[in-house]
Amino acid sequence: MAEVPMLEVQNITKRFKGLTAVKNVSFSIKQGGITGMIGPNGAGKSTTFNMICGYYPPTEGKIFYKGEDITEKKAFEYTNMKIARTFQIMKPLKNLSVLDNVIASSYFGHAGAKNAKEARERAMDVLQFTGLFEKRHVLSKDMGTPDQKRLEMARALATKPEMLFLDENMAGLNPAETEEAIHLIRKINESGVTILLIEHIMQAVVSLCEEVIVLHHGEKIAEGTPEQVMNDPYVMEVYLGMKKEDAHA
């Protein structure tokens, strides 16, 4: 098992009408860990994510999941391969209750529930796990940002993934809420789910991730443990320099 990485990205490139958003990026993720992807705004993180998740194919390059080529797979085939994702801009099913949001996910993916009872029970389990149980009858559009971010994760978890992609799941949270989110992500990881996350909040990345990948202008500029990456002079220049100019980034 240790020989074949969970996810392997080989030289992917994405060009949008002449603009190269991602250039020749390669990395691999081993099973069971938490990997972070960081970089300033416009570095190509979300584009990379969307390519890995099948929203659009890379212009060049290949993506392997457990040794299988998944480059051309469509977005809706991913949960069948035990991969789930969340969105940076939350996409809750606004007019449905929290419970129904999660029930919807329970029906799909590799272990999709066979009947209404099973789906409901799984949804209840996931809500308990993510701490949304008490709010299960609230309409998801009536919830605040922290709960909606939680719901994003709950919906992904209900498909029983082995690999989870989290796209800026802590953006817009205050320190206490961030702490709770970190706790939840660690709990998910401990239950056996490999995680790749995009994040801006360094505190979260440092405390969660074993591996960090840094993107800048669509290229990978560093890779390693959080300490190694943070001490890389180029990363410091790019990342901290960016932060000074643009505090809200």
């Binding site: 929203y55 809750p92 993916g109 789906a119 209840m124």
Partner: protein, 352 residues
Amino acid sequence: MDSKKAVHIYHRNLTILLGLILLVFILVPTMVKSPYILNIFVLMFYMSTLSMAWNLLGGMTGQNSLGHAAYMGLGAYACCLLVVKTGANPWLAAIFGMVVVGLVAGIVFYPCFILRGPYFTLVSIAFGESIRQLIINSEFFGRASGVGLPFGNDSWLNFRFGSKVPYYYVGLIMVVGIYLIMKKIDRSKMGFALKTIREDEDAAAAIGINPTKYKIIAVVISAMVAGLVGFFYASYIRYIDPDLMLQVKSTESVLPAVVGGAAFVEGPLIGGLIMIPLSEYLRANFSAMLPGINMLMYAVVLLVVIRFRPTGILGWYMHSNVKKMIDEKILKKPSSEVLEEVETLEYQREEA
């Protein structure tokens, strides 16, 4: 244990109330003899069914079709032509009609579902107009003069009656049957897939729903139900012509759902219950002096509902004091805390 009992009583009361409402509808023909009134009921039944067909696609899946009159018309034509040309039994023709409409809708809309948003609506309009033009231009379909079904003696086998009562009951069975099917879909895997697609197609794909596949299934079921309504209409009126498929008829089929509340399975029923009698009353009493007055009323109601009650009559009712009163006084609905408590208890029991 008390709270469990309260929930049980509430569910029982709800069933009794629904049963009573159904009973009233079953008893109507024994008390009402006027063919005029019965006709309004029959109209209400098939228009509500057509609107439910639309609602599966529009309300549940978020694909706003404006071509449902064409599916209904196509179903009616398929049935009538089979009966007239081959002398087949009308009940068999009904199944044939539904299959034809389902197939045509599936084949036509398969390539169209890469289109999102307003494009689907535009294609559904163009599709409806194309079908109508095709029929007007075809000798086989009887051109603009339409097709009549054979007259004769009353018979269940040929679904042909002088009285309106049998049509009333068949219509009632149709509307209740389709309602139950829609309710079932709403709570099933498919219903959740459709609702997820309505809210966000990317989110649907992310949890493993193939949007195209489910949209096709929805359009085929919706078109088949509309085809069934076409069969009923043709058997009832006994004559069909291409005007059945006019654009405005498609709009009419949408109104009960939007006015009643498109997000609810019951929306088309409530909307139909209110709109059809009103429209017929106006048509009967004023259309000689003021033609178009009933459609004018439709339009005004539609605009008022959209402007002031965007979630429809049911959407308003759900948060109204009337519902609160009915829930507390008649149905003895327990408070939401009690309901949640029972739900939690049951969940924990399953766990143990």
